[in-house]
């Protein structure tokens, strides 16, 4: 007689959606559970893992050298990174700040000298000097505002740094922005600059030389406030790196 047990198993599986009895692992009484598949899988995974761990450990030994090479390639020095701003170091921050402030200060000094030379006898020339001062103060405020740390400026900075690194280029100075801490001080400086510019503008609209000179005391007080804020920002950005930490000159 033909053994139809397998067939009945098959139909049972088809109708009930169950796997045939005879095909289940270790289903028969005389059959030990099959562990071959498990052994093969585990052996393969264990060998793969061994290779990956060994490769990983070998690769990890070069980690320090790769960091240095990558830093050199992107002209960055990780030791000097300001937290949150990859590749932007203190040195770059100082250079960027001074690059904006120093020319503006020189400009303001010469405009102030022009005003002083004309304040007693030439109203038009004094007013022209004051208007030039207002423009310089506004421009300085705008330039400093562009360095402020905001989510948007940070995202833009990170984008520029990443792009530069991807193409093996130096980090552009446009990527340099203030840290959140310096931003707080710089914000006060910008407000004081705006107040000074407003006052200078009022002075420039004077109708007589005596009215013009009457602003001098207030202008002096406002200028002192601005200079005080400038010193604070300067102090914040200017933490000179040690000699061993100064490889970043080529990145500017």
């Amino acid at each position: 007689m033909v053994d139809r047990s397998y067939e009945s198993d098959f139909w049972e599986s088809a109708v009930r959606g169950r796997r045939p009895e005879s095909r289940r692992p270790y289903a028969r009484d005389d059959q030990e559970p099959s562990t071959t598949a498990g052994g093969v899988i585990l052996t393969f995974v264990a060998l793969l893992s061994t290779v990956l761990v060994i490769a990983g450990l070998i690769y990890a030994t070069g980690m320090s050298a790769r960091h240095k090479a990558a830093a050199a390639a992107s002209f960055c020095e990780p030791a000097l990174f300001i937290t949150g701003l990859p590749c932007i170091n203190q040195f770059m921050e100082t250079r960027q700040y001074e690059g904006i402030v120093n020319p503006a200060i020189q400009q303001l000094i010469s405009e102030s000298a022009a005003y002083t030379a004309n304040e007693h006898h030439n109203l038009a020339a004094a007013e022209a000097a004051l208007n030039a001062e207002v423009s310089t103060e506004h421009a300085l405020g705008t330039s400093l505002s562009a360095l402020m740390y905001t989510p948007q400026s940070k995202a833009a900075s990170v984008g520029l740094i990443t792009n530069a690194a991807s193409f093996g280029n130096p980090v552009p100075m446009a990527a340099v922005i203030f840290t959140p801490q310096i931003t707080v001080i710089a914000d006060a400086l910008v407000r004081d600059l705006q107040a000074l510019a407003q006052l200078t503008g009022e002075q420039a609209r004077s109708s007589s030389l005596s009215q013009l000179r009457s602003f001098n005391a207030r202008i002096r007080a406002a200028t002192i406030a601005v200079q005080g804020e400038m010193q604070l920002v300067h102090k914040a950005v200017e933490t000179p790196p040690t000699a061993s930490q100064e490889p970043c000159a080529p990145c500017i």
Partner: protein, 317 residues
């Protein structure tokens, strides 16, 4: 917090039937004498852990409770790291680093939750079983927190939903958050009792989330092939391979997945029956080492980003 209260045994998602992987039901199992030998319900370690010890002030507490608190406490770190930014409503910290702090935290919690079952399979001890639920809850909290914060503070264009759906990786992340909500709501003994056999099926969604995480990380960092822009590793980093999240995920998942495969579990049970536990450890050892290797980099990422977030000087590196 991790509880030492035991669930009723019949409500335990079985460690042997491989939560959701093995679909054989009782009726389909082989005769009793040919089933792989189950471990005794309580191992010696379980019994040792159940004993009381004197704690602060002379009060008695179970060793298990102390061990669970110690092992479960690190799970709150991702949420703790974001706490100062939350209390001061620091939008910048959320915008820059919430995805790294809470997102990586959710990934870690998921892996630690998934680690419990393989460890039960390997050690035969069950005393750390409550950690599975604990880390699952924390994973859900971190994931949901990440989703909400990303929707509010991300720099992408548009409103809350637009921010969560306009990129492939954010869309996948959003799907994961949606899937984790029912798991969080039903991750308690009451829901387990009410849902009965459907509870386990519902909680098999964790495997869908596990899979979606792979897609999320793949699309986040250039399918594992890109560096810098759209990839891992920043300028000056020098280690885009170790910092590639997809690689970390894959290396960690290999152990978690392998130990869930029914043939592998049968092989382990058979070797145990033969008394060749050393062979199990020798074979699993390299896979576990790879898991630890990957976890080191994920934990490093979490601590680096988390501490910067805690100081509210978030790092976008």
């Amino acid at each position: 917090m991790a509880t030492t209260r035991d669930y009723p045994q019949d409500l335990y998602p079985g460690d042997y039937p491989a939560d959701g992987v093995d679909t054989w039901n009782e009726r389909e199992q082989p005769a009793e004498e040919h089933r792989p030998q189950r471990r005794p319900a309580r191992s010696r370690v379980d019994e040792w852990m159940d004993k009381d010890v004197k704690f602060l002030g002379g009060s008695r507490v179970k060793r298990k409770a102390l061990a669970l608190i110690l092992l479960g406490a690190p799970g709150v770190l991702p949420l703790f790291f974001m706490m100062p930014a939350l209390l001061t409503l620091n939008e910048n910290t959320f915008s820059v680093s919430v995805d790294d702090t809470l997102g990586t935290g959710a990934e870690l919690c998921l892996f630690l939750s998934l680690l419990v079952t393989p460890m039960i399979t390997l050690t035969g001890s069950r005393w750390f079983f409550p950690l599975r639920r604990w880390y699952g809850i924390l994973m859900a909290c971190c994931g949901i927190g990440d989703g909400i914060a990303a929707g509010i503070t991300d720099t992408f264009a548009g409103g809350f939903l637009a921010k969560l759906t306009e990129h492939t990786f954010t869309l996948v992340g959003f799907m994961m958050v949606l899937l984790v909500i029912p798991l969080l709501l039903t991750g308690n003994p009451w829901a387990q009792r009410k849902l009965g056999k459907y509870w386990k099926r519902l909680h098999a969604l964790i495997y869908v989330i596990w899979g979606l995480l792979a897609v999320h990380l793949m699309t986040l960092e250039g399918f594992g092939f890109e560096q810098g822009n759209n990839g891992s590793g920043f300028a000056g980093d020098g280690d885009p391979i170790f910092h590639q999240r997809l690689y970390q995920y894959s290396a960690a998942s290999l152990f978690l997945l392998t130990l869930r495969l029914p043939p592998v579990k049968r092989w382990i049970a058979a070797r145990e029956k033969e008394g060749r536990r050393w062979l199990i450890y020798a074979t699993i050892g390299p896979v576990f080492a790879l898991f630890i290797f990957a976890m080191i980099f994920i934990i490093n990422e979490e601590l680096f980003k988390g501490i910067n977030s805690f100081r509210e000087t978030p790092s976008a590196e």
